[in-house]
């Protein structure tokens, strides 16, 4: 038999039909939905007079719009409240399980899926959100879709997709201390650009990847969309199985043993061929920070903004436009620059390990007086864990307050907006113009970099 990749094995096992010269009809195992990209799909479905085909394969949670304080009160902003209420009503009407604001399992859709054991190896998973790539950390094919496709999944539990090309990104060796998987992601994107992965699905491999915890793997796969790829995935292994075992929706007893045997077969064959392959050395990666308005514009914290001298034409114009928005100059050093806000959270870095890293750094230190910090857990369960582990006391005595779960300042659809012209060191995934609020200037980094910036009030190297 021809050697195949992990991606091929899962994809091929989900093809219901293939249109000659066209896309495949791909069966979807799990469909996550939230309040922003689902309402038009529900009304489309109902407009056609169709039932929801497989409500039991669908899971809903409101996350994009929700406030991160006083969640027990009605949402003040009318349009946000209406979107959340619409999701609730749609889920009730179509019998979709929903973890709403008051539920003990509420949280960001890409945090709660893995946390509840809904996300499992070998699955196909979609959601109307590009960071669905997060779930690939379990050895699943998971990717973001548009609202028309959400409606397709509602109607048929399938979507039409052309099979993407395959890319493997190997990271070999041992990561240095204080270097995280967020740094791997920002490093790789700075090397291959925000369009380097376009048309591809990425498998991350190599010894540095195998050494990562499940949560660190999720951060890396989450960011795979930022290099343009449809998604990223990592072959399941003992780390994956240990994480899943015993979670609410994970198989139990004999069913677990049966699944485990199947999951163990999910890996790329030795001689399988990828359309594109990159290999990076883990020792070259240092704590990263971005300086521009796309996630590929990143450097090591000790580095400088490129001069742009080698660029010409529209490349140069785009580079300079980006720096002008950021208020930076070509060739400048980033370390020591004053910052105003820090955001810890999002589907990229809103898990317990991220808050442990943050708390470990700030313990016994004090937040810089001029910095506003928003510490936002990814889910109720993460919030609970932060409390149980005593991290809240550490945060409070250092001058930080814990908020309630949601997407928050990552995309600033709720009230958590960075004011115009202010600098925010953010553990989220995108530094686009206006992403965190009109005129906001975002510097993407790891929770550890964000912790150091919050304490020192300037861009700092957490290794100092």
């Amino acid at each position: 038999m021809e050697p195949t990749t992990l991606f091929d094995k899962i994809w091929d096992a989900h093809v219901v039909n293939k249109i000659e010269g066209g896309p495949s009809v791909l069966y979807i195992d799990r469909h996550f939905i939230h309040e922003v990209t689902s309402p038009v799909a529900f009304s489309g479905l109902e407009g056609r007079g169709l039932p929801l085909f497989r409500p039991q394969n669908t899971v809903a949670t409101p996350d994009h719009n929700v406030p991160t304080i006083e969640q027990h009160l009605p949402i003040r902003e009318e349009l946000s409240r209406k979107q959340v209420e619409t999701l609730t009503a749609n889920c009730e009407r179509h019998k979709i399980p929903m973890y709403g604001l008051s539920h003990k399992w509420h949280g960001i859709v890409h945090i709660i899926g893995p946390e509840l054991g809904i996300t499992q190896p070998g699955m196909t998973i979609v959601c109307g959100d590009s960071h669905t790539s997060t779930h690939g950390a379990f050895g699943a094919i998971a990717f973001g879709i548009g609202t028309s496709e959400v409606e397709m999944v509602f109607a048929s539990q399938c979507i039409l997709q052309p099979k993407p090309k395959k890319m493997r990104i190997n990271v070999e060796g041992k990561l240095a201390q204080n270097v995280t998987s967020k740094d791997i992601a920002l490093y790789v994107i700075s090397k291959i650009s925000t369009s380097g992965g376009t048309g591809h699905f990425v498998e991350f491999a190599g010894s540095a990847i195998r050494d990562l915890s499940m949560e660190a793997r999720m951060t890396l796969c989450n960011m795979s969309i930022e290099c343009g790829a449809r998604g990223g995935m990592i072959a399941p292994d003992e780390t994956t199985f240990a994480y899943l075992k015993g979670r609410e929706e994970a198989p139990k007893g004999a069913a677990w043993d049966k699944k485990l045997a199947e999951w163990k077969k999910l890996k790329t064959d030795d001689d399988a061929v990828f359309d594109t392959e990159y290999t990076f050395d883990a020792v070259d990666i240092t704590p990263m920070i971005t300086y521009g308005t796309n996630p590929g514009m990143g450097v090591g914290v000790e580095g400088s903004i490129p001069t742009g001298d080698e660029l010409a034409g529209s490349d140069k114009a785009t580079f300079l436009k980006s720096l002008e928005y950021m208020g930076f100059h070509p060739g400048e050093k980033l370390k020591g620059k004053k910052i105003d806000y820090v955001f810890i959270g999002s589907c990229t870095n809103g898990r317990i390990e991220d808050f442990r890293l943050f708390a470990d750094y700030i313990k016994g230190k004090k937040k810089a007086s001029w910095v506003t910090a928003w510490i936002v857990p990814g889910s109720k369960q993460v919030e609970q864990q932060i409390r149980e582990e005593g991290l809240v006391e550490i945060m409070e005595s250092a001058g930080f307050a814990l908020r309630q779960p949601g997407c928050s300042a990552c995309l600033a659809m709720n009230d958590d907006k960075i004011p115009e012209g202010k600098y925010a060191v953010s553990t989220s995934n995108r530094n686009f113009e206006g992403r965190q609020g009109p005129g906001a200037r975002t510097l993407l980094a790891s929770p550890l970099m964000a912790a150091a910036a919050a304490v020192n009030g300037v861009i700092s190297d957490p290794r100092d």
Binding site: V16, N17, I19, G21, G22, P23, V25, Y27, V36, T37, P39, V40, S43, R48, L50, F53, H64, L79, Q83, T86, G128, D129, S130, T132, G144, I145, G146, T147, S148, E149, E151, M152, A155, S156, Q157, C158, I159, L160, P164, T194, S195, T198, G199, G228, R230, N294, S314, D315, A317, T318, L411, A412, M413, E420, R430, F432, E433, G434, R435, P438
Partner: protein, 196 residues
């Protein structure tokens, strides 16, 4: 059903900026509607309007010299979020074709599902289009989906473009994917049963 797309002859609106992401096409704060209408008003919102809400005269959509149903953009157009609102806003504004030298995957899929044609051209052809429009903002371009060709009429240059044959058929006939998927219900159920 989507609107049929067969042939268009139109002037074009130039946006020679690279990596235009979905947050520029439509900022997240305008995604709060629960109905699919009116998104064109907020297309390129933060470039198109000043802070006080008045139109920014320097932005191309506010320049009366430029008009047409073809948007011509720098490479890597539509990167970022999967929000279909980005495709809706471009369509709702009145564009029917987006030309660039490179598109982000999800955005490309989304526009195709909404009767909007993404045409990937060479850098050379793109720069020639920008140049033509700069010299003559009324310059017309012809897009023929059946022939899979885009023509710069002033320069008499033409380029063939790629499109998935299935998607081409859908656009020409105004079909959408759900019609097709519904016809497969029996196969889908059989597939589910085969996996148990």
């Amino acid at each position: 059903m989507i609107e049929k797309f067969i042939k268009i002859v139109s002037s074009a609106v130039p946006l020679p900026i690279e990596n235009v992401d979905t947050d520029q096409i439509i900022p997240a704060r305008f995604l709060k509607a629960v109905e699919r209408k009116g998104f064109g008003d907020n297309l390129f919102r933060d470039w198109r309007y000043r802070k006080d809400g008045t139109p920014n005269p320097d932005f191309v959509l506010n320049n009366p010299k430029y008009s047409g149903t073809i948007l011509v953009a720098g490479k890597n157009f539509g990167s970022g979020s999967s929000r279909e609102h980005a495709a809706w806003s471009v369509y709702d504004y009145g564009f029917r074709v987006v030309v660039s030298s490179f598109f982000a995957d999800i955005f490309k899929g989304n526009v195709l599902n909404n009767g909007l044609l993404p045409i990937q051209v060479t850098e050379e052809f793109l720069f020639e289009m920008f140049d033509t429009i700069e010299k003559d903002p009324t310059a017309a371009f012809e897009v023929d989906l059946e022939k899979q060709a885009i023509r710069n009429i002033n320069k008499s240059t033409e380029l063939q473009f790629d499109i998935n044959p299935y998607k081409k058929e859908c656009l020409l006939k105004g079909y959408d994917d759900i019609d097709y998927l519904l016809s497969l219900k029996n196969e889908i159920t059989a597939f589910e049963n085969s996996r148990v």
